[in-house]
């Protein structure tokens, strides 16, 4: 076999490896139900904040504990714990994307992404 063919094969193998790894590592957007059935995997859950239930953050007691209730897009609710300070503007968020996995009775979020109604482009003229 020519050297160039060997190199070509290695390149193809690595490219396939990259695709497989992308596919394997990619998380998916799911609801709490799927997350609960696979507690070992991390998921992206999209939902809205349940404003009727209390969100808890008391920095004097623990600056790294924030909890709230999120209703996912299928309507299922779960408690979410985030071991970080409450993101500012959290209460104003329209949509919340949390990344993490289910841990017993609650969803342990490692990341919170907020979608605010006016990220920076408020289409409203202040008078």
């Amino acid at each position: 076999m020519k050297k160039s063919s060997i190199i070509g094969l290695i390149i193809i193998a690595l490219a396939i490896g990259a695709i497989v790894s992308m596919y394997g590592d990619a998380s998916t957007y799911e609801g709490f139900e799927v997350a609960a059935s696979k507690p070992e995997k991390e998921f992206h859950v999209v939902g809205v904040l349940n404003r009727e239930k209390e969100k808890y953050y008391d920095p004097q007691k623990d600056a790294n504990y924030f909890s709230f209730y999120l209703i996912d897009e299928k309507g299922k609710e779960s408690k979410v714990v985030y071991h970080n300070p409450e993101p500012t503007d959290f209460a104003r968020s329209e949509k919340v994307v949390i990344v993490g996995s289910m841990e017993g009775d609650h969803f342990e979020a490692s990341k919170i992404l907020l979608k605010c109604p006016s990220k920076y482009n408020e289409q409203k003229v202040g008078v």
């Binding site: 390149i11 590592d25 990341k111 408020e122």
Partner: protein
């Protein structure tokens, strides 16, 4: 609304700017076509004349657009949506420049401007290649200018004009029914606080100059295919490719430095899609440069060189599509807002992709091919392998970055990996190891043929590097042996290239560009390794804070709660949130760091001023502050601050019955009663005529300081008066309320100032040896610069 007459608008500038956009669009079409026909009819001079004039007209129009837009921002003409949306009255001039490119339209304009400048340079330097190269460049100018048109063509809105009036953009708002609406639009939305940073004044122009320059090697490659000239274009294209690599590289690292200095994600690189999108064309360009050099010395690998050079520009267009079409959605922190131009962006990309593929296919049979495989013991073989590794590396990056595109194309439901950094690192670290080693191996070998000495030389360098790696491993106190590989690769790259560099130092330094650039790359790798492997979050609370027992303490508790004035122990530091101060729209929180030595004494201290802007539109925007040392950085930012402050009251009153020598414990420190003093000078207090006046001599110990306090107790005609003593810095108050002769004790009531309303929640990270990252980059850029000098003088020599 036709009946309303609007007053106070400055329509002239908008009309001027918009007309200039139209003129520049038409003139760029004209220029592109005339250059095309000038190439087709080399004997007819009229085409090239027409081309030249229309390009000059285009340049003038571009400058007019920029002038009008800047004047609108500078004069605060908020009747224009762009000025209203991206600027405000309070902005200093240098930030007005950043407003200019905060929006999509302005950043396109920046790109158009650079492309125009590049065209002017080519006009004077491209000589025989002028016509085909400019035809391609102006085609790209047509595509970019179309993004600014804002004209409806058959119900499709083409482009988005920066000269759109506010009242047209938001025509439904009732305020625009009034003719004097402008008197009510007092101020603009202001500049995104994250961009209010001096790096944002220079990072975008640099990056866009880098993007813009990628079109030149692309245009030369296209011109080569077009003319069936598979040789001559490489020579002038190579210095352009090097310029592009240097500037784009500088722009990317400036972005990293900006992120590090002013964003709170804690680092210079986060594998964010927008960062990746600009990195990938750069890596491909680097691979392309290497293969171009291989081809110029050996005559092999022509097709690969062309493919890589074409791809780097196409990837710039793909990056543009990714970041501006809104397709990235939530997966990136800094993509532009969607302007509904995704279709147009896609057409832009596809036109150039199709052009490249068609030309390649058309000339496929004619292109020169390698006669035989490269020999293993040659520089070109290992350079080629290195370039392929770069291709794989960028393929992996662009693949994962494109997840949102796959979702759109195949209706998949994928999200970016939960552990993004881990995902990229597991691929990119082995790639970096191979690249690091190859930079040494390839440079030790000569082109075409090598004697056995070359191998012996590599062996010696490898031996020296191995010893040095072990030394550095312990010097940097790395923990995992996995890091040995990358550390060796980086060291080997630096040592070998330094060995090659030495003979050049006496001779022509211009020839040493490659060695210098590769030394820089090795140092950069080393810096990346050490600063990320040993990056340490130090804001982990070790004292005081009463953790709620219900909470299971997680490993990832990385934020520390700091009450104002109350020292906390954090790693090797005692930190205190001292005070905050307002400057313009920013709130600076002074945090004092005291470094302790092994004996627990204060070694040295410094203050950091992380800044938080409570922005009405974005909430808390935290900018870090960093203390730079030669060997490490202490990086600090506030992750949360209280909304409003409350006045200090005293709480936690505790009664202590003590005799001299006893200790009074409080949450803020402890006090020891030294003695009871009866010789107190009563006159200092007031006019009272005390029969007895006692002072309790207290020594108050806080974490880092000792204070004296003396609360007093006086008796006058059977009535007692207490005088409290405050220790302001420790937030403590002591009252001397009673004397108990029976037990020989006195009663002291201690209380603590309620500082619950004054606190910051802070995160602090130590980055060791991050200076290597910056130093490595700068050396690499110098290396590029030397190589450019060498290639330019080679051009002149002909």
């Amino acid at each position: 609304m036709g009946s309303v007459t609007f007053v106070g608008e400055h329509l002239f500038w908008g009309n001027l700017g918009h007309s200039a956009v139209v003129v520049s669009f038409i003139s760029s079409i004209l220029a592109s076509l005339s250059y095309f026909f000038a190439e087709r009819n080399p004997l007819d001079q009229s085409w090239s004349k027409l081309a030249k004039y229309s390009f000059h007209l285009n340049s003038l129009a571009v400058l007019t657009i920029i002038g009008s837009l800047f004047n609108i921002i500078y004069s605060h003409y908020f009747e224009y949506h762009y000025a209203w949306q991206h600027s405000s009255r309070e902005l200093p001039v240098h930030f007005m420049i950043s407003c200019f490119w905060e929006g999509q339209e302005g950043s396109f304009l920046l790109w158009i401007f650079w492309q125009m400048v590049i065209g002017q340079i080519l006009l004077r330097t491209a000589k025989s290649w002028l016509n085909p190269v400019m035809a391609v460049l102006m085609l790209s100018q047509v595509a970019l200018t179309s993004m600014l048109l804002g004209v409806k063509i058959l119900s499709y809105k083409m482009g988005s004009s920066p000269f759109e009036l506010l009242r047209n953009v938001m025509s439904n708002a009732p305020i625009f029914q009034q003719g004097d609406y402008l008197s009510k639009v007092k101020d603009g939305n202001g500049l995104n606080p994250l961009l209010q940073n001096y790096w944002m004044v220079i990072h975008p122009p640099t990056l866009f100059f880098g993007f813009a320059t990628t079109v030149v090697p692309f245009a030369y490659a296209i011109a080569g295919l077009w003319r069936k000239d598979f040789k001559d274009w490489l020579k002038p294209a190579l210095p352009w490719a090097l310029i592009s690599a240097m500037v784009l590289g500088t722009g990317i690292i400036m972005g990293g430095f900006w992120a590090y200095e002013s964003l709170s994600f804690g680092g210079y690189w986060a594998w964010d899609p927008v960062e990746n999108a600009s990195l990938v064309p750069w890596i491909i360009l680097i691979a392309g440069i290497h293969v171009m050099i291989i081809h110029r010395t050996t005559g092999n690998s022509y097709i690969v060189a062309v493919i890589l050079i074409l791809s780097s520009f196409l990837l710039v267009l793909y990056a543009t599509f990714l970041t501006r079409s809104g397709i990235l959605g939530n997966s990136s922190v800094h993509s532009f807002t969607d302007l509904g131009m995704s279709g147009q962006l896609l057409v832009f990309l596809l036109v150039f992709v199709v052009l490249s593929i068609v030309l390649m296919a058309w000339r496929w049979k004619l292109m020169p091919r390698s006669a035989k495989d490269e020999e293993i013991y040659t520089r070109e073989f290992w350079m080629f392998i290195g370039s392929l590794v770069l291709v794989i590396s960028s393929f992996q990056i662009i693949l994962t970055t494109s997840i949102p595109v796959f979702n759109k194309l195949f209706g998949a439901n994928m999200a970016p990996p939960a552990d993004v950094i881990g995902h990229y690192n597991k691929w990119q670290m082995p790639m970096a190891i191979i690249i690091g080693i190859l930079t040494g191996v390839a440079h030790s070998l000569k082109y075409k043929i090598n004697k056995p000495e070359a191998l012996r030389k590599i062996g010696i360098y490898a031996g020296v590097s191995l010893v040095l790696t072990v030394v550095l491993f312990f010097a940097f106190s790395l923990e995992h042996y996995v890091y040995m590989g990358l550390l060796f690769a980086a060291t080997f790259g630096v040592i070998t290239n330094a060995g090659i560099l030495i003979p050049y130092l006496k001779g022509n330094i211009k020839l040493a560009g490659a060695s210098v650039a590769h030394i820089g790359f090795g140092i950069l790798l080393m810096g990346v390794l050490v600063s990320s492997a040993n990056k340490k979050v130090i804001s982990i609370n070790e004292t005081g804070q009463a953790l709620n027992p219900e909470f299971n303490v997680k490993e990832n508790v990385e934020n520390i709660y700091l009450e104002r004035g109350k020292p906390n122990k954090m790693g090797e530091y005692i930190i205190t949130y001292v005070k905050d101060s307002q400057n313009w729209v920013n709130n600076y929180y002074q945090v004092n760091y005291k470094k302790l030595n092994a004996q627990g004494e204060v070694d040295y201290e410094f203050n950091l001023y992380p800044n938080g802007q409570l922005n009405p539109k974005m909430g808390l925007v935290a900018n870090p502050d960093t203390k730079h040392y030669f060997s490490h950085d202490v990086f600090t930012y506030v992750s949360s601050v209280p909304g409003k402050k409350t006045e200090g009251t005293f709480i936690n009153e505790k009664t202590h019955e003590v005799k001299p020598g006893d200790t009074i414990f409080t949450n803020n420190g402890y006090a020891i009663l030294q003695g009871i003093n009866s010789n107190t000078d009563a006159e200092k207090l007031d006019m009272k005529n005390f029969q007895v006046l006692l002072g309790a001599e207290l020594k108050v110990y806080t974490l880092d300081k000792v204070y004296d306090a003396m609360p007093m107790y006086g008796i006058e005609n059977n009535s007692a008066t207490s005088y409290e003593a405050m220790v302001n810095e420790a937030k403590l108050k002591f009252r001397f309320t009673d004397v108990n002769p029976k037990n020989k004790t006195i009663t002291i009531i201690s209380s603590e100032q309620d500082t619950s309303g004054e606190f910051v929640i802070m995160k602090a990270i130590v980055f060791p040896w991050i200076n290597l990252v910056w130093a490595g980059t700068i050396i690499m850029i110098i290396g590029f610069f030397l190589s450019i000098l060498k290639r330019v003088s080679a051009l002149k020599a002909v």
